[in-house]
């Protein structure tokens, strides 16, 4: 077991290196000099040369990469081109906000998904199955940014129940601030609900079809213990997918955050793209991708801990 964990961790290292290469390389394969993107066109050659030296663009490419990587590992991503504040600070604050949304969205989505999936599987073929399967399918096909707009439409525009945007001020009471969370969290929970719901349904149906479940029932076990057995067997693939979905929520929240103007890492990314703020862009993508890789690593190890067949 420990051997498997160590091996998996070692495998993650080249992937992380590859990720950093991709992030670094993306900026440089883009047509146009990075400097030209930062400087106004009328800047004099001396100023340009100065900026180049300051940013290190005059050094050979692999040197730039190594320097960037070295600093990145220590948390130093430089200053934002837009507002000259340290990138790291902005990123951390933004990440915290996204994290709040992701955790809540995941919790809501996973619980609803597991519920839908279990009910569908246990009442296979009858109307609860059809209803909950339809809900899950809708959850997966729904463009969540559109859903966000629709929710805003009903709850904020037409009926003024909940705030439409933003995160709320620190000065507001907690109850009021929580209102800002409701719509974004519901929106984020839809896709995980759909995805997990479908997987749970398929997995549980698969297990129900296996002989040992019949054997358990024949032994005289009542409903609840059988369900616990099913849950234990269905856990590994579902857990893996949950980890993946959480990663998507963290890394892919940009669309929802844009609609709700939620100051998270997705919003930061959006702004960075439009301001051509390369340091912020690189830092955000790198950190989010790293999170994703580490999350997958954790999920793999957790899966192996539960299901001994996975460890080789």
């Amino acid at each position: 077991m420990l051997l498997f964990a160590i091996r998996r961790m070692l495998q993650a290292i080249p992937i992380l290196l590859g990720v950093s290469l991709v992030v670094f390389g993306l900026v440089h394969i883009v047509p146009g000099n990075p400097i030209d993107m930062l400087m106004p066109p009328e800047a004099s050659p001396e100023v340009i040369a100065q900026m180049k030296a300051a940013f290190g663009f005059d050094k050979p490419l692999y040197m730039q990469y190594l320097l960037w990587l070295l600093r990145a590992v220590q948390g130093d991503f430089g200053l934002s081109v837009f507002n000259a504040t340290p990138v790291w600070g902005q990123l951390v604050t933004a990440l915290e906000n996204t994290f709040v949304l992701a955790i809540l969205g995941a919790a809501l989505g996973f619980s609803l998904g597991i519920l839908c999936g279990m009910v569908s599987a246990l009442y296979h073929g009858r109307w609860p199955d059809k209803v909950f399967s339809a809900i899950a399918t809708v959850g997966v096909s729904l463009p969540h940014y559109w859903c966000a707009i629709v929710l805003v439409l009903f709850c904020a525009v037409l009926h003024d129940w909940l705030p439409a945007q933003g995160m709320g001020d620190d000065s507001l009471p907690l109850y009021h601030r929580l209102q800002y969370l409701v719509l974004p969290v519901i929106t984020l929970s839809l896709i995980p609900m759909g995805v997990i719901g479908r997987l749970v349904r398929a997995t549980v149906l698969d297990i129900l079809g296996q002989d040992f479940v019949g054997a358990l029932s024949a032994k005289g076990l009542t409903r609840w213990p059988v369900i616990r057995h099913i849950a234990k067997n269905a856990a590994p693939p579902v857990l893996a997918l949950m980890g993946l979905q959480f990663g998507y929520l963290l890394g892919g929240s940009i669309l929802v955050e844009t609609v709700f103007n939620w100051p998270g890492s997705g919003n930061l990314l959006n702004l960075a793209i439009f301001r051509r703020d390369i340091p912020v862009l690189q830092a955000t993508i790198l950190v989010l991708a790293t999170f994703f890789v580490l999350l997958n690593l954790l999920v793999d190890i957790a899966q192996a801990a539960i299901d001994p067949r996975i460890r080789r």
Partner: protein, 356 residues
């Protein structure tokens, strides 16, 4: 039964190179080990010694039976002969030409003369191809025209007992196991081979269907001048089909010889134990041999020297020191081709098994 047929004069194949005295297949010191990977860096942690230094020959026109329990290396041997697996060492000589050698015969040419029928009749056939397409595939790939290939496929279908008008355009899932296995046999015959390897070809069939397919195989062997290597774990079937038999244990050959001799006077303690495990209702055919003792073999860490020694009640210290070679039995042999791999005379002669 087989011997009677063998005595009829046989037409000589145009591809014959060495005449009737030369064995069609000579296998020498064939070895195949599979690495077991594990540990931190996925290194080779252990080795499965699937086939270890086996040597045998197959005469033209005979049926060589290979028996043994699961894991003894029978199927690996079949795949090594067909070169579906590359041997680690050893050589295969087909009608005088070494396979894979520049001066010998190329693997692809050998495959035109040697074919194989697999155990699972369903997965052996492409589910998306009709029966005629499956049979015609190999000839077409070797350059035969479409019309001729399909004609040959249809004539082969009727040869194996299936009406081509009914079966040529069927798919595998529409046929029964016995019918599919007939198609597999037809497919193996499509390239007009001289040697056919039957790897547990009837193991998955019902008894009545098995009998029909075995009869078909016997007919085909006679009419098409074939040589068979018949692999099976079913001792009765091997006795029915084979002229000579080879017994394998944990990747090695422990006994080989004419079928009647081996079945009547088995010498190797493993062979005797194998026959003792055959159930029979005849009160005259009672055995006095003790059943096998000890743990089932592990091909990853086989015992040193003679691999059967951990389960053999006649084992002596020298059994662990050296690998017993195939040699004549200690009490002399009625047939010079009867060979045993055992160093202990008492082991070879103890407890006769009444069995004919």
């Amino acid at each position: 039964m087989s011997t009677a047929l063998q005595q009829a004069p046989r037409a000589v194949d145009a591809r014959d190179r060495g005449g009737p005295a030369q064995p069609l297949l000579i296998v020498e010191h064939l070895t195949k080990h599979f690495p077991v990977r594990g540990g931190l860096l996925n290194r080779r942690v252990a080795t499965v010694q699937a086939v270890d230094d086996i040597s045998f020959s197959v005469r033209k026109g005979e049926t060589l039976g290979i028996v043994g329990e699961s894991g003894c290396g029978k199927s690996t041997t079949a795949r090594l002969l067909m070169r579906l697996l590359e041997p680690d060492s050893g050589s295969v000589v087909f009608d005088g030409d070494q396979v894979g050698d520049k001066r010998g015969i190329a693997v692809n040419d050998m495959r035109r003369q040697m074919q194989m029928v697999f155990q699972d009749s369903y997965t052996s056939l492409n589910p998306r191809m009709t029966m005629a397409e499956s049979i015609a595939y190999a000839p077409r790939m070797h350059g035969l025209g479409r019309r001729e290939a399909y004609d040959r496929a249809e004539s082969l279908l009727s040869r194996v007992g299936l009406n081509p008008r009914q079966y040529a355009r069927r798919y595998p899932h529409e046929l029964s196991g016995g019918q599919r296995q007939r198609v597999n046999i037809a497919r193996a015959l499509a390239l007009q081979p001289r040697l056919v390897i039957l790897d547990e070809a009837v193991a998955a069939l019902d008894k009545s269907v098995e009998a029909q397919v075995l009869n078909l195989l016997t007919d085909l062997k006679q009419s098409l001048n074939l040589t068979y290597v018949f692999i099976s774990h079913d001792l009765n079937v091997v006795e029915y089909m084979s002229d000579r038999v080879m017994v394998m244990y944990l990747g090695r050959v422990v006994e080989a010889g004419p079928v009647a001799e081996i079945y009547r006077h088995p010498r190797h303690p493993y062979t005797r134990a194998l026959f003792a495990s055959k159930p029979t209702l005849d009160p005259d055919r009672r055995t006095t041999e003790m059943p096998l003792t000890g743990d089932p073999p592990n091909p990853i860490n086989p015992p040193s020297g003679c691999r059967f020694r951990t389960r053999c009640r006649f084992a002596q210290p020298r059994c662990a020191d050296s690998v017993p070679a195939l040699a004549a039995p200690f009490d002399g042999n009625a047939d010079p081709t009867h060979l045993v791999a055992c160093l202990v005379p008492e082991a070879q002669s103890a407890g006769a098994v009444h069995h004919a």
